[in-house]
């Protein structure tokens, strides 16, 4: 009997690893190839078939008499709690580059260090793409390959878990049914706002937002990828929603990165003799860091914790706005991370956890 489907029945998975090539999914028949994604929001993917019609053609009629599929697009957005293991997949998809090492393989064999940084655009403009599976009860069971991350925001406020939110865009291809059974994800270590330490370093003075007194209200860090979505339907690529059905509408054969940009915002209490406003006036080049320290990583000498560290190497303020929060004067610092010539770096995120690899 047909039954209405409740939004609470929704479940998502995504490739444990990136697609083998753009739009080529890891085999969904193997559950281990996919990791469950726990979204907080109630959003579902939006598949948009784009059509053209013959309005204005010499048909002799005032309105269109025919329409046809030209291409397909898939977009979706989700909010999620930030955990030490799964955030690595988002960071790899957002930045496009990761280097994984073991800081102490002898005494800490379970500890891995992942450094995420911006892509070297002289080598490649294709971000890692991943396949996503969406299920809603028995009504929806679909796989979207070739999904790239258009925007990732990490943020923290109050006593909550740290949050992530993302906007994704796929190739337009939709495979039904997905072919995935899907395992539940367990054993995740989450980060909390109280674990954050935000600092500004002007080269001589280190202003720590977590000491004397603790003054951080909230923070947000965004990685914005300009995806060349319209350019992804390549002439001659011959990839269609249904293979070899030229009338089923094109899907993307690539989704290149046009540009990457960043935004960092920190909202803190204004103190007496506060140096922060002067930094804006002087356009001081600051080093921004946010070290988020979680629990100890088990399996070794307890020398390493789950940790997420955000670092902007040359980060002057682009705006400083005064306001108030519960009566206390606050100052919202909008930071503009620049590319530092001496280090060849702009924004870098380092993650310590027990995940051996995000790429193989």
């Amino acid at each position: 009997m047909p039954t209405p489907q409740h939004i609470q029945q929704r479940k998502f998975w995504r490739g444990k690893l990136a697609d083998t090539a753009y739009g080529t999914s890891r085999d969904p028949a193997t559950d281990a190839n996919y990791k469950q994604f726990i979204a907080k929001d109630r959003n579902l993917a939006n598949l948009q078939p784009n059509v053209q019609d013959n309005a204005g053609y010499a048909t002799g009629y005032p309105r269109a008499t025919e329409q046809w599929l030209s291409n397909h697009n898939v977009t979706f957005s989700h909010d999620f709690d930030l955990c030490a293991q799964e955030i690595g997949r988002d960071l790899y998809d957002a930045f496009g580059k990761v280097v994984t090492t073991q800081p102490n393989a002898v005494d800490e064999p379970t500890v891995y260090k992942h450094v995420f940084s911006t892509m070297d655009l002289t080598v490649s403009r294709q971000l890692p793409s991943r396949s996503w599976v969406e299920k809603v009860g028995s009504a929806i069971n679909r796989l979207h390959p070739g999904v790239c991350l258009a925007q990732l925001a990490l943020s923290g406020e109050a006593s909550a878990r740290l949050s992530g939110s993302g906007q994704w865009q796929g190739s337009g291809k939709e495979v039904e049914p997905s072919g995935l059974t899907g395992e539940n994800i367990t054993g995740l270590i989450y980060f909390y706002e109280s674990q954050c330490t935000v600092k500004f370093d002007d080269g001589t003075t280190l202003t720590n937002m977590a000491t004397a007194p603790n003054r951080l209200n909230s923070w947000r860090c965004e990685i914005i990828n300009q995806l060349l979505a319209d350019d992804g339907f390549r002439p001659g690529a011959a990839v269609f929603q249904t293979a070899d059905d030229f009338d089923s509408g094109e899907v993307r054969s690539e989704l290149l990165l046009g540009d990457q940009s960043f935004n960092i915002v920190a909202n803190v209490r204004l103190l007496s003799n506060d140096p922060l406003r002067a930094y804006l006036k002087a356009q001081t080049n600051l080093i921004f860091t946010n070290d988020i320290l979680g629990p100890v990583i088990p399996g070794g000498d307890d020398g390493y914790n789950y940790q997420l560290s955000i670092k902007a190497y040359q980060a002057p303020f682009k705006a400083v706005q005064l306001g108030e929060r519960n009566g206390l004067v606050s100052i919202e610092l909008q930071i503009n991370p620049l590319f530092q010539l001496s280090s060849g770096k702009d924004l870098e995120i380092t993650l310590y956890n027990d995940v051996a690899s995000y790429v193989a």
């Binding site: 990136a18 090539a21 753009y22 790899y92 496009g96 580059k97 990761v98 280097v99 994984t100 090492t101 073991q102 800081p103 393989a105 260090k113 892509m119 070297d120 002289t122 080598v123 490649s124 403009r125 294709q126 971000l127 890692p128 060849g344 690899s357 995000y358 790429v359 193989a360």
Partner: protein, 86 residues
């Protein structure tokens, strides 16, 4: 008199020279794995030096985790000769 036709020169196949890389001396991890877009490779310290395509080598060198073996060897040779002269 008919001009002698010059035979087109045979095009020589241009072979790209492979580049040999090593871990930077500060790199103590037994393995290093890199993902860059669709490119992925895992390096094992025991298998040094690593043979790389020139473009690949450029990407890897720019990460700061690798040094060009020929450059490293030259630097080492330079150091030795400096020591000898002093």
């Amino acid at each position: 008199m008919a001009k002698e036709k010059k035979m087109p020169e045979k095009k020589k196949a241009v072979e790209k020279k492979k580049v040999l890389l090593r871990f930077h001396e500060e790199q103590t991890s037994p393995t290093l794995e890199i993902g860059h877009g669709e490119y992925t490779r895992k390096f094992d310290a025991k298998e040094q030096p690593f043979e790389c395509e020139p473009e690949e080598a450029e990407l890897l060198k720019r990460t700061g985790y690798f040094v060009d073996e020929s450059a490293a060897a030259k630097a080492e040779a330079g150091e030795k000769s400096n020591t000898a002269t002093s």
